[in-house]
């Protein structure tokens, strides 16, 4: 156990490092002029040479633009997550597909999900995993329902964003006759063991980094993430035992997310 404690000493350092790198990169990107936004002088000089219809449109919009641009150059917000072209029936399509290694949901899990809410902060995933025979008594399949919350996204570069904190919970169900939801009838009474071995509930916290691809491509962006998770039974054990540290019950997992529809950055 003492070895496990030692293993996790670097974790706070890693989190802090990633966060500070993200913030400093974001600050650097503030200084750079944004190539997308036209300068006010160009905008104004183009107005007189255009046709009547165009000038009426520009009259309507120009003052507000001019005021805004003359004071502070326009910036895209640091957290620019939003849905584009993801309306009506298209909302049935999953916004992303994912693959995850470990995390109590099998050796490898793949799945899909939807992001929603303001700034696309919420994500719900359905994942299917496999626990191969080499890791267990026989091959087991797992099914996971996962809820994620990603409160912040910090745009560091045009091609890079960092999500410094993500958290969530998931329910994992495993196949196999050795597991049960309700204990088998052979046990006396209703609560001989009083727990379910088939379904585990996990809590997790982690971080993510997102790489943007070309705006027109089907693949909007790729996110790499890692998580530290703990399951319900271990958490129960933790609260009854002083000698059991959090580092004993926390496990590491990594994953990749491919954003297909919906969110643009």
């Amino acid at each position: 156990m003492s070895a496990n404690v030692f293993r996790f000493r670097r974790l706070p350092l890693l989190c802090a490092g990633m966060f500070s790198a993200a913030v400093s990169a974001a600050q650097e990107s503030r200084v750079l002029p944004d190539p997308v936004v036209p300068s006010s002088s160009v905008q104004e000089s183009s107005v007189p040479s255009s046709s009547v219809q165009e000038s009426s449109v520009s009259d309507f919009f120009a003052p507000a633009t001019a005021v805004r641009l003359s004071s502070v150059p326009e910036r895209r917000p640091l957290d620019s997550r939003e849905h584009r072209g993801y309306t009506s029936w298209k909302r049935l399509l999953p916004t992303h597909v994912k693959a995850q290694y470990a995390g109590g949901m099998g050796f490898l899990s793949v799945g899909y999900g939807w992001d929603y809410g303001r700034k696309c902060r919420w994500e719900t995933d359905l994942m299917f995993g496999v626990l191969p025979k080499s890791c267990s008594d026989r091959t087991h399949l797992t099914f996971t329902l996962k809820q994620n919350y990603i409160p912040w996204s910090i745009r560091c570069r045009d091609w890079l964003s960092v999500e410094p904190f993500s958290c969530g919970a998931y329910l994992n169900l495993i196949s196999g006759e050795d597991f049960w939801i309700r204990e088998p009838d052979r046990y006396p009474g209703d609560r001989y063991y009083d727990f379910t071995s088939r379904i585990r509930f996990h809590l997790y916290a982690g971080q993510r980094v997102t790489f943007r691809t070309k705006r027109e491509s089907l693949l909007r962006h790729i996110t790499l993430y890692y998580e530290f998770s703990a399951n319900d039974l271990d958490l129960v054990a933790k609260f009854g035992n002083r000698t059991l540290s959090f580092t004993d019950i926390v496990y590491f997992s990594v994953g990749i997310k491919f954003q297909l529809f919906g969110m643009s950055l």
Binding site: M1, G103, C135, S136, Y251
Partner: protein, 265 residues
């Protein structure tokens, strides 16, 4: 400058983390085959002795603090030859529970052996127990006494395997080393409990009383210290407290007979 540092930190953190494919996977980390190794150590250390002394602890599931306290107390004694754990290391049959309990018990200065408890059989627990500790039925010689450890968790095996295994008892009767005058039988659940059942209870008693010089029986499962003559034939069953009661049993066996003492700590 920042990027290589960040990358190195990430690499360090990742390479040193524990991953969990599933709480019930059977990828055991650390020492395995403990009972066989420790039985050899006990036999070597007590060979030719006419008196042995050992401690019994039981039902340590999810009581890591108390188990660790018991280990320090037992380590404080200088007069023990070995420690016998009467089963139920895990509460839910999860791999991590066995590993944590093993790591605590590995701090014992004297060798220890572990019996299979009913909680140890849950989900893939049987497989994990078999890997870490070994066979469910085993016997070893400690000086003048043969300790016969039997799997009596009949309810868990549900006719998949013979429990109790009369074949093992028979082979132990015929192949036990000559010149060992005494026998102690240890098990997790004693006869006539809901785990053992009543069907073969009397036959079991008939079988174990064939052992030469049967001193007494030791069991756990009930969580309360109790001395009971289950069949009214003079063979006493000593039930060990669960570890939450912070006590252990101390057995001393010599030419004159045996002595059992419940020692709170």
């Amino acid at each position: 400058m920042k990027r290589p540092v960040l990358f190195l930190l990430t690499l360090l953190a990742v390479s040193s983390c524990q991953v969990d494919y599933h709480p019930y996977d059977t990828r055991v980390r650390g020492e395995c085959g403990i009972n066989a190794k420790n039985m050899a150590r006990i036999e070597a250390a007590t060979a030719g002795r006419t008196s042995v002394r050992f401690a019994v602890i039981s039902d340590t599931q999810r009581w890591y603090d108390e188990t660790a306290a018991a280990v320090s107390v037992l380590n404080g004694r200088g007069d023990l030859d070995f420690v016998l754990h009467a089963g139920d290391m895990a509460d839910f049959g999860m791999k991590a529970e066995f590993e944590r309990q093993r790591d605590i018990l590995n701090r014992l200065r004297v060798p220890y052996v572990v019996l299979l408890g009913n909680h140890d059989c849950l989900a893939t627990g049987e497989e994990i127990f078999h890997r870490i500790f070994g066979d469910f039925n085993f016997a070893f010689t400690a000086g003048c006494v043969r300790i016969v450890c039997l799997n009596t968790n009949a309810l868990e095996f549900d006719l998949r395997e013979p429990v109790p295994d009369f074949g093992f008892i028979e082979s132990e009767l015929t192949t036990r080393p000559a010149g060992i005058p005494k026998t102690v039988v240890a098990m997790h659940a004693k006869p006539c409990t809901e785990q053992f059942g009543t069907n073969v209870a009397k036959v079991f008693q008939l079988a174990i009383t064939q052992f030469p010089g049967l001193q007494c029986c030791i069991n756990g499962h009930g969580h309360n210290f109790k001395v009971e003559d289950v069949f009214g034939d003079g063979v006493l069953y000593y039930e060990c407290d669960n570890i939450a009661k912070r006590s252990y049993l101390l057995f001393t066996i010599d030419e004159t007979g045996y002595e059992c003492e419940r020692i709170p700590f």
